[in-house]
Amino acid sequence: MTKFLVWIETKFMPPMAKLAEQKHLKAIRDGVISTLSLILVGSFFLIIANPPIASWAEAIAPYTADIVIPFRITMGLMSIYASYGMGYSLAKSYKLDGITGGVLSLATFLMLTVPVNVDALLPEGQGIGWVLPMGNLGGAGMFSAILAMIFAVESLRFFKNRNLMIKMPEQVPDSVARSFEALIPGAFVITIVWIIRVLLDFDLNNFILSIFTPINDILGNNLIGVLVPVIFITLLWAAGVHGMSVIGSVARPMWLVMLDANGQALADGADPNQLPYIAPEQFYQWTVWIGGAGSTLALCILLLFAKSVYLKQVGRFSIIPSLFNINEPLIFGVPLVMNPILAIPFILAPVVTTTISYFAVKFGIINGFVSNVPWTLPAPIGAFLSASNDWKAAVLVLINIAIAGAIYYPFFKVYDKKLREEELGQVSEEHTIL
């Protein structure tokens, strides 16, 4: 096991970490993260629209369409926000003007959706002019937004590097000069997308979606695919690196697409336990990462009963943060990092709880996950809210804590005994354990 951990640290982790720090992926991560607070707000309205008690649900049914409007404007348009944020971040990383990059990225993305005029279908005099169909502006358009952003900002960079810009004399204010700087790259980018989308009538949104839908199906609905992020994240943490921050930057766009698809389905009246995707990020957050990565709340409870003085102390200072899913004090305290004994349950417990939760959602025993609620909520509460007010989801969390505890127990016992013996053997040198 020690050899394996060394292999992870020296061979597996560096390329993964490098990938997460790659400029485009970083821009995607920043852009996506910038939408999270809006999604949080939108989710809140979705939760209100789906109360846990049937009589309440009936009472608000006539108003549901109105209640979910904030959801449609936040999550339903999230690719618009992300598009600007990603373009801003990528431009910044190239030392270009962030606002120009963001605006150009957004325009390029919007060019992929063709406005329509539906006045002919409406009663005389009630025309609404040109409208932009929303279908591809939410999660479904995320990958188009990413591609459009890369094309737009890379073009901006290309023209800037070759000095193909319209320069203004120095007396012109910065903001005015900036808008002219984007003129040539903007004309180039918009024209190209216009040719592809309008003249050639090639629906890039649908094309990209048709490529990514199978990937999403594997990552969201296939047990092996659902387990892959769990294994990668725990392996990285076992080597001491924030697994979620590495894997999340690659997988988060896909998780958000799933969350959006689930939310849209629910807002459109689907059964809360029959949603399109099993495993958006919130599935892991609430049913697997209970207490933090590695399902460590269960371990933390065991630590409180440790014989080793040191482990007991770690349990005491970790329990409160653990209840709110912050487990770094525990991970670096125990330590779980590069720990050949505890690495096994650290990986195994989440794999088992993921599998159980996967089937619980798949068979409709608990609701699917639709809402993004703050990750620092205690897991039963978070699970309840995120699975559209389902108390059974909270029960599943408790079951999963018990199962994780059972998996950790034998390994915890061995490790506790080892530390206890060391403590008895060298009371005076206790700090060597530190």
């Binding site: 560096p14 720090e21 993260i33 690196v241 912050i326 770094e328 004090p329 670096f332 305290g333 990092v337």
Partner: protein
């Protein structure tokens, strides 16, 4: 002395910072310290004169990025040892901080 510690979300480092501040208080060491997430650190470094940037162990893979920001702002940068990143490790990390005090 003004120190900033960066981790992924600024949550876990807040716990460590609190423990370090308590330890500094005990030792009568004048310390001003905050915890931030990896998304905010670039801006924070630009604003006010920090004497040291500490990088939490779980984001060591982003060290090169942080180093870029720190160099730009002219702030020394160092990694926190895994064992220094717990409330119990606070004295150890404080010792590390003191090495940078002028």
């Amino acid at each position: 002395m003004k120190v900033v510690m960066v981790c992924s979300g600024g949550m876990s480092s807040a716990i460590v910072v609190k423990a370090i501040l308590k330890e500094a208080d005990k030792q009568n060491f004048d310390l001003e310290m905050i915890a931030v997430g990896s998304g905010e650190i670039e801006e924070i470094l630009k604003t006010s004169g920090y004497d040291l940037l500490l990088v939490a162990p779980q984001v060591k893979h982003q060290f090169a990025t942080f180093e870029g920001y720190a160099n730009e702002a002219g702030v020394p940068i160092d990694k926190v040892e895994p064992m220094g990143y717990t409330p119990l490790g606070a004295p150890k990390t404080l010792l590390q901080i003191k090495k940078y005090s002028k």
